[in-house]
Amino acid sequence: MIHESRLADHIRDKSVVICCGSGGVGKTTVSASIALRAAIEGRKVLVLTIDPARRLANALGINVMENSIKEVPREKFEAAGIEFKGSLSAMMLDTKREWDEVVKRYAPDTGSRDRILGNRLYNYLSNHLVGSGEFMAMERLYYLHEQGDYDLVVLDTPPTKHALDFLEAPKKLFSFLEDGTFVNAFLKPYGEGGGGRSFGMRMLKMGSGAVFKVLEMIIGGDVLRDISEFVGSFEGYYQGFKGRAHGVDALLRKPTTSFLLVTSPAKLTLTETRYFYDKLRETQMPFGGFIVNRVHNNFLPQDSTVDPVKLAWVESKDDRNAVLDRVTGAKGLAPFGAKARDLMSDLLDNYANLEILSAGEQKNLEMIRRVRDPREFFIQVPVFDQDIYDAEGLLRFNRVLFDDIRLTD
């Protein structure tokens, strides 16, 4: 059964949802869950991920090595009684293949295309370039948006530090492309027109000899030559990259786009979440809210009036011993004799441990609670007994994320 939920409401009129956060907080699970919910509600959805956990990829039916869009098989979800009114597709970006596709897609002519695809530096860079995944994710996001095949695209970004690159990449790319000096300096300095002139000579002519002298010292002349050839072969692409970078920036700022921050209640993770939140505000990106994953909730019923934090025995071992003295008087435990006291002792220790942990987490969460805008949602998802790596697990997670069942159910 589907109840109303604030998160579901928020997602309903969005066409791009971007899940960001530190490593290991469950971004992929949250992304897949959001996509699933929208598909159940009847929308045509694509979840785009860069580095999914393998089993989850399998559960979604994505072949890891392929850089193509796959429709997620419905059978497993339908077997669990869930009907998709819309459709759910998934894609895992393979950075190298995506680069190749971008090079082919926007090729000004076959010559440039082949020159790039055969370039040694290109092959090295497209394979190993740190941050290249983010750049390609944006190229893909923009391409998908332009094609307009999906009602909603959910993007699962890599961990925080790189998610920041993701925001800054269009700007970085700009300052570098907009700087005519750069392109002029590098385009074909050794090429057909350059004749036999040395790099140094050419740069001297341009008045930046010293700069290149230094670069030559650090990197080496031959390498600079390779780089210059490489940069030159991209000549016909620059305008396109520049135009799309503008387009991506505009797309990210649309009111139909929403950034979500996924976090855990651990202090170190929250510090990073806070940092990213500030960054999103600073860059004025449309922000939806926080999803705090793996929260250790107390196990009391929702309507219970007991406040575990105020229980003396949770805090103090001495008080726990006093509680244990009641074991001998408890009729229901009498059959177990002396062992009952040991058992109760372990049970109380275990409960105290988790309550202390839980209280600590709630205190950590104040870091976010006190700065957030009340219009931004703040959803706590409890830690599950088992991790989530299949359709069934995803559905269980989904019900909690969208508050379809009470947390203490």
Binding site: G24, L343, N353
Partner: protein, 345 residues
């Protein structure tokens, strides 16, 4: 070489079997790698404490803008300086900008020239955005620190690097070899070659893998171990399985726990003890779900033990604040385990 005081005399030591800890202590360059969120930073800090306590002057290196060591050791932000966070244990944040400045200044020697080119000229964007260059200079700085010989200023017996998460972590350590292949000649290629040798040499370098006892981290670890044996092999150290949940009750009481949980009279008994039915249910369901987690962790821990003889389970730490005392506790747990295992043949 003089033996540190806390070690047994040489004669006795040669008779006793070498422990895994002895073997770890003998490696001057150690790296923690693994998926994000498994506790690499905490383990780096705990390992650092173990090494420092055993007389090794140790430095923990982070390479991220968001430093964690200052938070874990409760000291003010560390930055590019080397700060003693514990007796004999230092921390340093090797950020790309500072490393780049230091690296380039070796060639140009004049701050004014550096500033002109790298801070003011049109090249600054390009250099900052140049793929892999920032990472390269960070590695360069780490390598550089490893070149300082004993007795010289800035020497460390052990360097520990808290590596970025899996995907990026591995590509970081593969960068020198790849750079070498891509550029082939010139000063960059030469440096890359030297770095590649330093970071991968057996007996010097040791890569500890951090992970969790759960399905997805397990699968990723299998893949990571496979890739570590790949074209540029990295010498493997311990497989640290972090945050293993202990069972809620001691094993001999497990059956009794199941009985109590399932009998209404006993649950009533628990309610009398803790003072209320709600609380009794809560205490019992809390233990039940802890049992599931503990079983799950034990299952994967056993699988890890099949993957590596050097698998080490480290306990989940229940603490209100994750700080210095937590790291100390973790370091003692780690030390116990390292001592209990034999050194690899």
């Amino acid at each position: 070489m003089q033996a540190p005081e806390d070690e047994t005399p040489e004669l006795v030591e040669s008779m006793a079997k070498q422990t895994y800890l002895d073997w770890v202590l003998a490696h001057p360059f150690q790296v923690l790698i693994g998926k994000g969120g498994v506790g690499k930073s905490s383990l780096s800090a705990a390992l650092g404490l173990v090494l420092a306590r055993h007389g090794r002057k140790t430095v923990i290196i982070e390479t991220d803008v968001k430093e964690r060591m200052s938070q874990l050791f409760q000291v003010p932000p560390i930055g590019y300086r080397e700060v003693e966070v514990y007796p004999n244990l230092f921390a340093k944040n090797v950020d790309p900008d500072s490393s780049m400045e230091e690296y380039v200044l070796r060639f140009v020697r004049l701050q004014a020239i550096y500033d002109t080119i790298f801070k003011k000229s049109f090249l600054k964007h390009w250099i900052k955005g140049m793929p892999g260059f920032r990472e390269f200079v960070v590695l360069g700085k780490i390598w550089d620190m490893g070149q300082v010989t004993k007795g010289q200023r800035g020497h460390y017996d052990t360097i520990i690097v808290d590596s970025p998460a899996t995907g990026h972590g591995l590509s970081l350590w593969a960068l020198p070899r790849q750079t070498q292949n891509a550029v082939r000649v010139g000063p960059l290629a030469r440096h890359a070659g030297l770095m590649g040798d330093y970071f991968t040499e057996k007996g010097r370098a040791l890569y500890h893998v951090a992970t969790l006892a759960e399905e997805m981290p397990y699968n990723e670890t299998v893949e990571l171990l496979g890739r570590m044996k790949g074209e540029n092999p990295l010498p493997l150290g311990m497989l640290a399985v972090n945050a293993v949940h202990p069972p809620p009750v001691r094993p001999e009481l497990r059956k009794l726990f199941e009985e109590v949980k399932d009998s209404p009279e006993s649950v009533q008994g628990v309610a009398e003890v803790v003072g209320g039915a709600d609380l009794a249910r809560s205490v019992l369901s809390c233990a039940a779900s802890q049992q599931i987690r503990a079983d799950l962790n034990a299952h994967y821990l056993a699988d890890y033990e099949k993957l590596s003889k050097a698998s080490i389970g480290l306990p989940y730490i229940y603490s209100r604040t994750y700080d210095k005392t937590t790291i100390e506790f973790l370091s003692h747990e780690l030390e116990k385990k390292l001592k209990s295992m034999e050194a690899p043949a």
